[in-house]
Every structure is written in C-alpha cells, then in structure tokens.
Symmetry: C2
Subunit: 351 residues, 2 copies
C-alpha cells in the first residue's frame, strides 16, 4: 500500500523508541518569518528559485506562465520533512500493530505481528519485505476512512522523533515551508507528490504545509462504498491503485493533476522520473534536489558523504550525475540553509 525501501525502513529500527507514546500537546504550526526565503543563504539554489518565480510571473517576459498553469510539486520524505531513521508512516504502522491486534486477537501469535509485538529490535530488523507489506496492509486498510483519519491524527499528536523528542510534524524544513509560501504567494498551486500513503499525508498536510487534501498525490489504495444502518461509509481496501514512486510519480501527477508541473523538488532516486517529466516540458523549468549533507543539524546520506555504500541513502552518484548533466540544481542543506527547522522548535529538543 505504500512505497518503501526495506533497507531504509529497517536500518532505523534500532533508533526507535519503545512502542509507546506519551500524551502531549499537538504539534505547533510551522510558521515562516517575514520576507522571502529568509532561511536560505545567498547562492545558486536561492537565486534559482527567485529567478524562476520572476521568469514565470512577469507578463513582459516570454517565459511567463498563466496562473492556472502554475503547478509546483514536492516530494515529502526527505524533501519537506525528516525521513530518518525511518519513514514516519512506517513508524505509525509498526506502533499501530497493538491496536490492530486488540481488534483482531487472532493475529497476536501470528507472524509478522508476533515479532512486532515482542519489541525485539533484532528480530524486527530481519522482517522481510513481504512481512512489512502485511503490516502496512493490516494497519492502513480495513477500517473506514473516518476511523483512519482519527487514528492517524491521534498518533501524530503524541508520537515523538527518537533523536529530537519533537513531534514528527514539527520536523519539517523551514526553508521549504518558505518556498511553498513564496510559490503560493505568486499564484502557484503547490502539490505534494509522495511515495507515502495519500490518505496518511492528507491528515496533516493542510495544517503542516498549507496544502489541502486534494493537492496531495501519494500511493493510492482503493476504497469500497457501503452502508451501516442506512448511512454510507467508505472502507479502505488492501487494493493498490498506484505506487506513487519512481515512474509512478509522473503517472500519479497525470492521474491527479492532469498538467505538467514547471517546478519540482525531490531528494532521491524515487524522484528522478518526476524531475525528468517536469524538465521535459516547454518554457521556464526548475528542478531541484535536496542533498542531506548536514549531520550536525540533520543527517548526511548523500553520495558525496564518504559513507560506505550500504549507508548511502537513495541520493546516488548516478542521480547526482544526471542532475549535473540536466542542469537540476542541488540544494546543500549545510551550505544553503541557515535554519533547518521552524523557529517554534528552537530550544525544545528533549534529547
């Protein structure tokens, strides 16, 4: 039901907190300070964004784009918020296993649920891709759309990231929030195009990014219309409609938007085809890749980090080479950003 990379998923298991969550106030809304892109240092990345907006909104220029054609797309995991040590949605699924077992006690002694319930990190790290898919299906489907929304909302209000002790929805990149705002201020429709579950991301996208549910494109599952006491409801089905990753991203963009974007942001090989598709259009184009090269403030897992191959994330050398060859702009988190997280998080990390 959701696009996952087994290595990325499992490598983070050891760093996760126990399967419990504490009741704490909801995530603070991320807010950008005044001015345009204040968290960006001057440089090619910042200038590319500002120039792209000028080129597409100045009617006197041949690169002008009419307002209804202004479509901007953003990957989420690793582009708008932290994706390490594990995709947030996968953390949700693992932590939601106890609730599923409570409703379906027959799963208690059945693998892979038994292993997840054991809390044994080493055993969990040995789960197969098929096991993970079973966990995702059990925790993301089989309930009504309304129930799912309520469960995710409740979890997000309490769960914390193991490194910073902050809500996942607080660990969004302040410079990217500023880009979203700057584009919207200039008439662009901003879309998330994520390998994560469309319904999952929709739960918080408006509050966290200012992006409404209809502008979230993600991995899509089917639903089934039915009645309870004469009242209609939709049940989330374990039926994959589209895996919104890699080639699935331009396919998802066509399905959900029906127009080609003119600006696209990503950070991994999962975003390659989306950037290619965006770049193949006519007129002004801007394709950007966020390089995680900042282990002090966030993480470093790009191709140039000198890490052994197995620790290198999905921003591969091949992607780096394609970016260079095609003129995609690489954003260095370390050099291009003077802030990483929203001001509301400053001084609040608990670990």
């Amino acid at each position: 039901m959701v696009s996952i990379n087994r290595r990325v998923v499992l490598s983070g298991l050891a760093m996760l907190p126990a399967l419990s969550s504490t009741l704490l106030p909801g995530a603070a809304l991320a807010q950008a300070p005044g001015g345009v892109l204040p968290s960006w240092n001057d440089g090619l990345a910042k200038q590319s964004i500002l120039e792209f907006v000028r080129a597409t909104t100045d009617q006197s220029r041949p690169t002008y784009v009419s307002p209804e054609e202004r479509i901007a797309v953003f990957d989420q995991d690793g582009t708008l918020w932290v994706e390490h040590p594990m995709y947030t949605q996968v953390v949700y699924c693992l932590e939601h296993v106890p609730a599923v077992v409570e409703k379906r006690p027959e799963l208690k002694d059945v693998e892979p649920f038994k292993t997840v319930l054991s809390g044994n990190r080493e055993a969990m790290a040995r789960l197969s891709m098929r096991d993970l898919e079973e966990i995702l299906a059990a925790t993301l489907t089989g309930m009504s759309v309304d129930e799912f929304n309520a469960e995710v909302k409740k979890w997000l209000a309490t769960a914390k990231h193991p490194r910073w002790g902050l809500h996942y929805t607080e660990l969004v990149y302040q410079p990217m929030l500023e880009v979203l705002r700057h584009l919207r201020d200039n008439g662009f429709k901003t879309y998330i195009v994520t390998g994560g579950g469309q319904d999952f991301v929709r739960v918080y996208a408006q509050q966290v990014y200012g992006i409404p549910p209809e502008q979230v494109v993600g991995t899509m599952g089917g639903t089934k219309y039915g009645y309870e006491d004469g009242r209609p409801f939709l049940t989330k089905e374990p039926k994959l409609l589209l895996n919104d990753d890699k080639a699935g991203k331009p396919e998802g963009i066509h399905l959900m938007i029906g127009r080609r974007p003119s600006i696209a942001f990503g950070n991994s090989t999962g975003d390659r085809e989306m950037l290619e598709w965006t770049g193949a259009g006519t007129g002004a184009r801007l394709m950007m890749l966020l390089l995680h090269d900042d282990p002090m403030r966030e993480y470093a897992y790009g191709p140039a980090q000198g890490l052994p191959e197995s620790k290198v994330g999905t921003f591969t050398q091949a992607l780096y080479d394609e970016a260079k060859q095609k003129g995609w702009v690489v954003i260095s988190m370390k050099n291009d950003w003077n802030e990483v997280f929203p001001p509301t998080t400053v001084g609040r990390t608990t670990r």
Copy 2:
C-alpha cells in the same frame, strides 16, 4: 475504460450521422449573461441553490462553511451537457475507429472493428458489451497522453450533434453554467464527477465549463512512463483503475478530492451514491437531480414521462422515490429553466 450503459449506447446508433465530420470553426465559448441564475425561473430549485449559497457563506450563520471546505460536484452527461442519443465519448470512440485501423491495418477485417467500419447501423446495434469495451480500449488507449489530447481536441472542433447540428461542446446547459459560476463566485471549488473518461473530459473542461483538469474526476485508466530518444512520455494503458460510476463516484471523490462535497448535482442512478455520500455529511447540504422532461427543447426520459420502460432513461422511479424521501431537489428542465442552451447557439441549429 469508460462506464457505459449498453442500452443507452446502442439505442442512439440509428440517430447518428455517418462516420464523417466536416471542418468547421471551433466550439464557441459558453458565456452566461450578467446576474445570478438568470436562466432559472423562480421556484423551489432556484431558491434552493440561492439559499444554500447564502447559508454556507454567511459567517453569522451556524451553517457557514470555511472557503477551503467549499466543494461542489457535478455529474456531466445529462447534467451539464446533452447525453442523448449517445454519450459523446462513445460517439468519439466509434468515429475514431477508422483512424485506429489506419495505424493498425490488421484490425480491418477483425470484429468488432469490421462492423463499425461497415457503417451498418443494424449490425452495430447488435454489438455486445464486450465488443464495445474492445472498441473503447482500442480508441482510448495505446497512444501517448499528448497524442490523445490532440486527437480529441481535433474531433471536438468538427463533430456535430445529429439533432441540432451544433458542436457537442456547445450543447451545454446554460442554467448549469450559471450555477457553476455562482458557486465559484462564492468560493466553491467546482468539480466534474463523471462516469466518462477522466482524460477525455479534461480536454475541454476548462474551456467549456471553466473547470481545470485537476478538478475533473472520471473513469480512470493507468498510464505507463517511458522514453523515446531520451525524452519521457506517458502512454495510456488499457488498465482500469476506477470505474467512476455509481459506488465508484464517492470512491473517486475520496481518491481525487479527499473531502466530502456539500452540494452535488446529478441526473441518473449513476449519481445516486454520490448524492447519498454528499447528503450524509454534517452542516448545510444540497442534492439536486435534473429531470429531463422537455422533449421540445431537449429530451424527455424521466420516470414520469409515460414512456414505455425500455425507453425510460436511468432516472428511475426508485431514484425519484429516494429523492423525495431524502429531500433531494428535482429540477424540471421544462419548468425551472427559461433557457436550455447558451445564447451563442440561438438561431444556429442547422437541422
């Protein structure tokens, strides 16, 4: 690939012109005259629309809806434009068979293509549902998204409706264009939710209805990402993702919009679940059904027309009864509309 009703499809065959089209200027843009709903006669239907808009946009009322929650959905065939004697998209598919056979000559002597090419109406009326699906698959898939758009656009610019001799895109209902505009003027996002092909309707929805491609929800097929000379393109695949009809309409609304509409318009049993889903939300609701009871200006095929059962359209007595029981408002084309088609069409019918 598209939701079709065999009876509706085939009953119209005899009334179609020959498989040819003449070169004529493109469809005129439909424009509503000034004022609110001028083509609507005073009555329950008009008052229901005006009152719904007041109730949802007046901040002092408990029924106020915040702007981002203002979602309006409209069926297309028979609700926004003429669906008789045959769905326009099916006419396109049949008329496009010669072009397909030109590219794939091996189909020339193969059924059902041979029958369509023969132009023999009686033989065509005997085509099975499976035959029709084969024709739809051959004419709606297998080409790039860009090729498909260009072919539909070209066809729409020349094809004419057999009764009026006007372009199909001119045969839209002026009163409904006024409703679309009134809702948009009051902050509603207007969506088409059609059993027709999503990609087909997107070709003209902006020009004809002022509805952008990302706000067209229809029957959805998969696409496949590929390269030609290093340049990426999307091919339309014969893979059905969602049949956006009946229960598929609320499912499609969830998939594409992710919010529940508060106002919905339809005209047939294909819209029943969409109206139920809309009606099951909280706050101000308005569900409307267009009754075709105007054989002079358009057609009459509702339940109360006294036509033999086989000639009755998909606005059944059961739907009429459900509408009455649930407070859905029935629009009488004959009594509620003082105009049916846009002013640009007046005096231009050629037959």
